[in-house]
């Protein structure tokens, strides 16, 4: 079984100087996101992604090891799920 994450249709991403803001159009709440978060959310713009795929995206962008990327992705995804910026599906 593979878990995939999908960006909520109501969220919009914008960035400035390597940092970003995620705006949820429905709740009208906005959140600051770091470079890591930006990279994860940009990867999700292509459609649902598994955790491994998101880790690969971070590794490609920042040339860091998977061991470093994995906890960053996990932590960011959990915060986004809590804030209802992402949803999870299990295949």
């Amino acid at each position: 079984m593979t878990t995939r994450y999908t960006k909520h249709a109501d969220i919009r991403l914008t960035e400035l100087e390597g940092e970003g803001i995620v705006l949820h159009l429905g709740s009208r709440r906005y959140f600051s996101v770091s470079e890591t978060g930006l990279a994860v959310l940009r990867a999700l713009e292509g459609g649902p992604r598994s955790s491994d795929e998101l880790v690969e995206a971070l590794v490609d962008e920042y040339e860091i090891s998977k061991d470093l990327a994995r906890p960053s992705v996990r932590g960011f995804v959990e915060k986004c799920l809590e804030a209802k910026l992402l949803s999870r599906t299990d295949d």
Binding site: R12, L16, E17, G20, I21, L23, L25, R28, V33
Partner: protein, 303 residues
């Protein structure tokens, strides 16, 4: 002709003339015509769903096919806006017809703000000025943050005022520019007392004293922001700190209440804000009374 940019259609000629003139006096000329079709009569009251957004005296609802419906409180009027075309069908009650001066800065301004979005201009809650060195400034902040008082202060010390309340952002070539909303600058009693040199007229309906200050020369019409300041009132000494990145974006989004209102325009609005953040040097300014004695504190703080 300039008035063709605000197309006001109604069987009520006096109404047409009043509304069109208010737009011409207070709003920047849009790049394409905005159409307002107005009738007077019974206004249907009540909506099945709660409003998705509210501004002073107005509530906003989603209509069919991504249209927007704006209600002027108390059943005084409604406007239905097409999702894409810059036109609005407006119904005013006979009671509202007798109080057009009250309608204009709330209800009609709300309708116009959404129509400007349909021609690519997006609202930011900020004062706009040009400093003595010819550089454009936006001052964003909450009601009570000192925006109007600071604007009046600077305008009486060699700065030129665009407007003290809001602007519409748009692109001119590769730049982001700000087109001022030119409503009269209005100050509370304590601010008027602080700026004793200014002379204005008290408006009892608003509880504020209003001033007409020389605005930007007609040939200019917009401000190209070189600086954006996020104002608050804080402390014993004015403090100016540079900001960037997510903090700038968060501030700009917070002063753009309309950005989340209609999804189809959100990306364009957000991109304008991000590009403004790239173009301008951004600062938080915690204002204190020392700025009244030396307004150059603001200029000195960014140089």
């Amino acid at each position: 002709m300039t008035h063709h940019r605000f197309l006001v259609e109604s069987d009520d000629t006096e109404l047409c003339v009043f509304v069109r003139q208010w737009f011409l006096d207070n709003l920047p000329l849009p790049p394409d015509s905005l159409t307002f079709r107005i009738s007077v009569g019974d206004v249907s009251a009540g909506f099945d769903s709660p409003p998705i957004f509210q501004q002073p005296a107005t509530s906003f609802y989603r209509g069919p096919d991504e249209s927007m419906i704006i209600e002027w409180e108390g059943g005084l009027g409604t406007a239905v806006l097409d999702a894409a075309a810059p036109d609005a069908e407006i119904r005013l009650s006979t009671r509202a017809r007798e109080h057009l001066a009250a309608a204009a800065p709330t209800f009609f301004l709300a309708v116009a703000t959404l129509l400007y979005r349909r021609v690519g201009w997006h609202h930011l809650h900020a004062a706009s000025l040009v400093d003595p060195q010819g550089r454009g400034w936006l001052l964003a902040g909450n009601s009570g943050s000192g925006k109007s008082t600071t604007s009046a202060l600077l305008a009486s010390h060699g700065w030129t005022l665009g407007g003290d309340d809001g602007v519409f952002l748009s692109r001119e070539g590769t730049s982001v520019v700000a087109h001022p909303i030119r409503k009269k600058l209005a100050l509370r009693k304590d601010s008027v007392e602080m700026l004793a040199a200014l002379d204005g007229d008290f408006n009892p309906a608003r509880g504020k004293t209003e001033f007409v200050i020389a605005h930007l020369p007609d040939s200019q019409g917009f401000v190209k922001p070189r600086f954006v300041a996020f104002l608050s009132i804080d402390g014993k000494q004015t403090r100016i700190d540079a900001v960037g990145g997510a903090k700038t974006l968060a501030q700009l989004v917070s002063w753009s209440a309309w950005v989340a209102l209609e999804p189809r325009y959100a990306d364009e609005h957000l991109q304008l804000l991000a590009d403004l953040g790239r173009q301008a040097d951004c600062y938080t300014i915690g204002l204190a009374k020392d700025v009244l004695e030396d307004p150059d504190v603001i200029l000195n703080g960014v140089e």
